[in-house]
Structure formats: C-alpha cells, structure tokens
C-alpha cells in the first residue's frame, strides 16, 4: 500500500486530504469527527473579529437532476468568540497530535491586529496558518478577504507582517477573482509565504427565483453575490493551480482547492502540482465519510501505477502543459465508431453537424435508430462526438499517421506555403 503521508512546507499530514476553511471546520467537534473519519488535516474556519451572519446563506446550481454541481454562499467568517475557537484548537491538537490543524485568519489590514492573532493561533497549537485573502463576499466590502488578494502589494504587505511573528508555516489563500492569479501568488512569495492555497470561491449569482424574481439565496427579498465552489469550479481551479505550479518565480508548495469530490479529482490536483488538497462542498453534500474512498481510491491508484508514495505524483503532469504555440500541428486524430457498441441515438451526428465540423453522416437503420459513419476526410479530430456519446468507448479517437514531421506554430509561421496539407483553415 502506497504511502500517503505528505509534508506541505513543514506541515506534516498523514494524507493529503484536508478540510478547507469553511462550514465543515466551524467547530472543534466537527474537526475531531472528521479526523476520526480519516481526514489528514483541517483548515479551521476563518478566525477574526466575530461577525454577524444572515439567514439564508447558501444556494446551488443543480444540473439535470444532479444536486449541488455548484455551491454559492454568503456566509462570513466565524461568528463564534475567538477564545472559544482557540480553546477548541488546543483541545483538538491535544487529542489529535498527528493530524494537521491549520488556522485560517482574517483581520483588518493593520500590523498590530495581524501580529496579535498570529500569536494567539500559534499559542493555541496551530500547525500552520492560512491567510484568507480570498473571500469575495461581505468581508471584502470591509477591506478584507479578496479585497487584499486582488491587490498584490497588499497581499505582500500583510504576508510580511505575519511572517514577522509567525513561527509556523504560513499559507496564503488566493482569490480567483482576478485577471491573472500569478501576480498575487508572486506577491505572497515575496512577502515570505511558505505556501499558497487556491482557489477561494468565485464571485457568483447562482440563479434567480422565477416566481419571486429574487436571486438565491433570498434574504428577506434581497440577495447579494456570493462565493462559488463545488464540482463546477474544478476546471478553473486546475488551470490556476497549474499556472502557479509552473511559474518559476512562485516556486513554493501549493494546497489545491476547488471542486474536489473524490480521489480522482484529488489525483488530478496533485498531478498538476498540489501537495495537499482541500475539500469543502463534497463534505457539505455528503459528510465527512467521503474521505474513506478518497484514501482507499488514491492508494489503490498509486499501487496500480507502481508508485510507493503520493509524493511521486506531485506535479507529474506539469511538463505536459505547454503553450498552444508549442503543440504539434501535424498530430492528427480522427473519430472511430464501434458499430457493435453504437446504440443509434444519433447524438454524435447532431452534435457534429450543428455544433462542429459536419463530418458524420446519418441514415435511418432498419430498426428505426440512426446509423452514423465518420467522414474521415473532413473529420478534424475535435473529440466532440466522443464526448457526447453516451456509450463508454463507443466512439474513440484514433491517431493517424500524417506522414509529416512534428510542426509547431512558430515553425509553421516561418513558411506556411511549405505546409499546404494543413489546409486553408490554418493558413494564417
């Protein structure tokens, strides 16, 4: 069985699965139950000067009967007294010395205030600190959260203040509500951060109640934009994660966050550079118990791949992410339909014909279903048909030999007329 132990900038954890700073980590009781279930670490729900929350607070994006594809919230940081939280931090650390307890912090942009809360958190026994520069709702209106994360200089300044007193590793949590997430990541590094975590939630309005005309969640006939998370945000998170992981200036460990629901998602985040992963929405949907399959599945996967430690997985896919201009223009795949598996639904035909490149022909089969055939000559190998096909492995993309040596856009541009086989679409 593969070793799942990880070490994020000095924070040791029995496995890479952490609870993100969020409602599941609101209390010591929850975190202890999570550790009992198998979670390796937990980032305590953000501590700061206690606030007052509204009711209601959450709303979701559901899709075709699947609930909580995306989750939106307008809940603020902890609404419990600091001393209660710190007392519970100490209690949890005492009872679970081997699990990672990271305390998320957010106070006003004032050196004194930051120094004070860092000391209190570490005195309570935190293994590490996470600076919440990400919350996009409520707190940002008061100059905290994403209001800091969106201005690299502020992020750098506060990280510097924290590092002046911190004895434990400092993770800066980044907001995705910014044009290029690399800049605040570099600022965090410049301020002395030991690691970054991302993504925090994305500004969102999940939907409007078509009867009351009020967006959700409805707070007495009004709503406010919230922070979006859950499976729907995973692709955005993966992209931001990989861009930071590939950036040579940042160069510090990463805790990945954003729509991780199972071991497969976790493996993808780790492959793109995360050392630990943080989970919230999936736990809000199904509870702490989901970690059992995350541990089991990841461990089996590593065994199957012949890896002894999860550390072998970290960043393994990064070298395959390149710029578009470095892709091989002479690489060619075309779709192939396994007629024995085809159920004749015709979805590939209509998708290709209306939505892509008109390279599938359709005719009625004797049984009333649709017979589809790929038109090899015009198929551009876009994948769409294989993506919409409801049958596993019925449409596959097969590589074909173009007889041409690999060619990048840069090389092509030097003399387009030498590559007429690439056709008019790619001529300029």
């Amino acid at each position: 069985m593969a070793d799942l132990k990880v070490n994020l900038a000095g924070i040791k954890s029995p496995n890479p699965f952490w609870l993100a700073s969020a409602p599941p980590t609101n209390t010591g009781d929850q975190i202890m139950r999570a550790f009992d279930a198998g979670w390796g670490g937990a980032v305590w729900k953000t501590l700061g000067q206690p606030i007052v929350n509204v009711s209601s607070r959450y709303s979701t994006v559901d899709m075709n009967g699947q609930r909580v594809m995306g989750l939106n919230n307008i809940e603020l940081i902890t609404d419990r007294p600091l001393e209660v939280n710190f007392r519970e931090v100490a209690e949890v650390k005492k009872r679970y010395p081997n699990n990672a307890v990271i305390v998320s912090l957010m106070v006003e942009s004032n050196q004194q205030a930051w120094h004070e809360i860092v000391k209190r958190a570490e005195d309570a026994g935190a293994d590490g600190l996470e600076l919440n520069f990400g919350c996009p709702h409520g707190m940002s209106e008061r100059g905290m959260g994403s209001a800091v994360g969106q201005v690299p200089d502020y992020a750098c300044q506060i990280t510097t203040w924290v590092k002046e007193v911190a004895k434990t590793p400092v993770i800066v949590k980044l907001t995705p509500n910014i044009t290029d997430v690399i800049y605040p990541a570099r600022a965090a590094k410049k301020g002395g951060a030991d690691a970054v975590s991302l993504i925090n939630t994305i500004n969102s309005i999940t939907g409007v109640d078509l009867d009351t005309f009020v967006p959700r969640p409805d707070v007495g006939g009004k709503s406010a934009h919230g922070g979006y998370c859950g499976p729907a945000v995973k692709p955005i998170a993966l992209n931001m994660l990989s861009s930071i992981a590939k950036d040579k200036e940042v160069g510090i460990p990463i805790s990945g966050i954003g729509g991780i629901s199972n071991w497969r998602d976790a493996a993808e985040f780790i492959l793109l550079g995360a050392t630990t992963v943080q989970v919230c929405t999936a736990v809000m949907h199904y509870g702490f118990r989901i970690v059992e399959d995350m541990i089991d599945g990841l461990s089996n996967y590593l065994d199957e791949k012949g890896m002894r430690s999860v550390n072998e997985l970290i960043g393994k896919s990064l070298p395959t992410i390149s710029k578009w201009e470095e892709l091989d223009l002479n690489y060619k795949v075309i779709a192939n339909v396994n007629q024995d598996k085809c159920i004749g639904c015709g979805l590939c035909y209509v998708a290709c014909n209306d939505g892509a490149h008109q390279s599938i022909s359709a005719k009625a089969r004797e049984d009333g279903r649709t017979r589809v055939d790929i038109i090899d000559d015009t198929c551009v190998g876009c994948n769409l048909c294989s993506l919409v096909c409801p049958v596993d492995n019925c449409i596959t993309m097969k590589q074909i030999d173009t007889g041409h040596a690999p060619l990048t856009w840069k090389e092509y541009q030097k003399n387009p007329s030498a590559h007429k086989h690439l056709g008019p679409h790619n001529a300029h």
């Binding site: 159920i343 049984d367 009333g368 279903r369 049958v391």
Partner: protein, 454 residues
Amino acid sequence: MTASNQDSFHEIKPPLAVDQALAEANRCLNCYDAPCTKACPTHIDVPGFIKKIGTGNLRGSARVIFEANVLGASCARVCPTEVLCEGACVMDDVTWKPIQIGQLQRYATDFAMARGILPFTKSPVKKPGRVAIIGAGPSGLACAAELLRVGHEAVIFDAGEKPGGLNTYGVAEYKMTPAVALAEVAQLQKAGVEIRSGVRVGQHISIAELETQFDAIFVGVGLGRIGKIGLAGENLDGVVDAMDYIAELKIDRAKAETRTRGRRVVVIGGGNTSIDVVTQAQRLGAAEVHLVYRRGPEELPAYAHEVELAKQSGCRFVFLSQPVRVVGNGKVEGLVVQRMRLGAPGPDGRRKPEPVVGEELTLAADLIVPATGQEARLDLLKNLPNVKLDRNRPVVNSDMQTSNPKYFAGGDCVSGGQEVVNAVAEGKRAAAGIVKFLQNRQSTVDGRQFGAEK
C-alpha cells in the same frame, strides 16, 4: 364493493411524483431522429415532450403530446409502450432500462387535464364542408379534432350512452377507469368536438340522411361483441361475452363482483382481451382462473408482458386445448376441451392445431368467458352504399378512404382490432384524407363556377 376489492383495481403503475418525473426526464438522451417517435403510431415527438418536462415547461410538454395525439392522456395509460416507444428506446441498451415514456406522458397530460388545458384549438377560420363521424371512440374523436383544427365542421354520432367507445367501456380497469376516459372526452368537447350521444345510425338517423346533411362521412364504429362461437351449450347461464364482462365492471361493479367472487372462471382465447378478462376475474376475487388456448405458449398472440402479468397473478394456462362444448344443467358446470397438437403450418404460416383423438378434458367452471375475437359491425357496414368490404372490413386506401369516395373509415372496424393509439393515428390520417377530399371537391365546384363565368 369492498375496500380490498377497490384496492385490487388500483393502477399497476401509479403516477410519477415530481422528483421521479424529473429524474426520468433527465435520463432521456434526446436522440436525434428518435426511434421512440418513429415507433409511436401517432409519431409524438417523445424527446421533445420529455425534455420540456425536464425544464419544467409542462404546458409546452402537454402541447407537444396533444399536437400529435389528442388522446394522449388515455394512450399514456393504455398503450403497450413495451412494444412501441419504450420498446424502441436506446436506453434499453445502455442501462437495460428504457425511459418510462408512458409514465412521463401521463405526467404531462395529467398536468394539462388538471388545469383544463385543452388538447387542441379549433380553427377560428371556417372552411366549407361538414363531416359526419360515426362512433365516438378513439378514431372518431381523433378525426373530429383534426377536422376542427383545420376549420371543418364535424359532428359525431354515437350509439353509446356515454362517449369514448372502447376507452370508456373496453379497457382493463387497472389500466384506465371510465372516469379518466370520460374526462378526456369532456376536454375534447370543451375544445369544440360535438358529440350526439345515444344516436344509433341506421335507427335514429338514417345513412341517407347523413349523406344529405354532410359532405363526408367517417366510419369509426369499432367492433361488436364476441358473439356466438358455435359451442354446444354456449347459451347456458354463466357464459358471458368478454366485451360484456369487461363493460359490466365499468357500469355496475357490484354485479360484476357477484358474478365472479369465489367462482371458477374459464376464459377462451389467447389475445390481449382474454388476458384483460383473466386479470379482471382475478381482481374480482375468482376462486380460480383458467385460460384455454388451442395452440401453445409460443403462439399466444397476447403481449408477453401482459401474459406475464396474468401468470404472476395466478392464472393457469391450458394450452393446446380446443373448447368442444359447455356442460351444465341450466347453469354452466364446466367446459369440455379437446387436446390438440401442432401440425403442419397453415396458410398464415402458423402451425395448425389438430385434435389428438380421444383426449378430452373437462374444466369445472361457473363462469365461461369467450374472448376469441370481436364480430364486425355488419349491421352498419353492410348498409354503407358502395363501400367495399374485405373479410367484413371496409377496404381503404392510404387516406383511409373507402371505395365510396365520400366515406372514410378507421380504427378497429378497419384494422380488426388494434391499440387505441393505432385508432387515433387512423382517425388523424382519415381527417387529412377528408380535408384533401373536401378541398378537391371544393376546387372542382369553384372551377366549374369559374368556368361558367367565362
């Protein structure tokens, strides 16, 4: 009527709740050129109405159904979906579970019925040409609705006390109650269908009168009773025609129960009607039910899923047995059957049953229900002027037009007995044929007038 008895006729498939309907609607792949639509005789745009359920557009969903089939509510209940739309569903290959199309159709049409959303809109523009429709069953109702949509006037003459034909009087009770059938007809009437109930053509109004008052006539009279099957003793008390037996439950449930409860019932025939009789007898508390069929299980014409239902509820099938005579003393006491075996194939390709000499068996019975096929309504059909019949059915072209161009026909009287949905499809097709006929007739008349002016 006891409570348990009432329970026994509860619908086998209860309506879907909102979450079930949404989950099922979302399972639908939305096939291109969908096989379910092709498999439906009325060609309902099945993925179209299902996806509208998925978006919560139930009004639109019902409209899509009614556009193709104004009897969408009853078809949702009585269609053998297993062999039609659901039988064609591609999901059967993916998850071995086709989309529950009938149930979803019911979900959308129930919504429409509950809100009084009418199944069609009468054209505000009137077109010349009045049409008489004989029979307020599925084909006649569908034909009338299509004609009204186009703007022609249509009047249905129906001999029954209540409209609906077999939908009201002849459908297995657990599939659909008369209340549902009548509510659906009432919606059609609200939308403009005119029905003259209790008017028997040939008795209360003559065919000649219809001819003078109307420009075209649609015959959708269905079939009649099972009739005599030529068995010695079939006049004994306790032999009941299958159609009468099914109708009795709908008209007077107490009487149907008294006739059945605790009795030994023998049903003759292997078609879907015989299965309906079997399931009805079982639900009414028969002591035992036998179904006698002269061929083997392989040859049973009834749908496999219906046969399975009958088996599961305890019916005993007596195959390769030809009824010979009913025995009894004033009252039925049993049915004597002749053992058969399958011989060489007959002209229809099916192996012909032939008697095994000397092997007879007596099935004890208190109630014998022949369900061997309904008789044609020759009393009417034979009196239609110049309408050619073949094997007692009007001969029609693809427009459902008979050999007398003014007469069209459809439904069971033409098909010899099919599903409600087939009757609806034929009523629709006949309406299109009638519209064409009236148009041509009109243009001929106009042309003549136009020519006269020259």
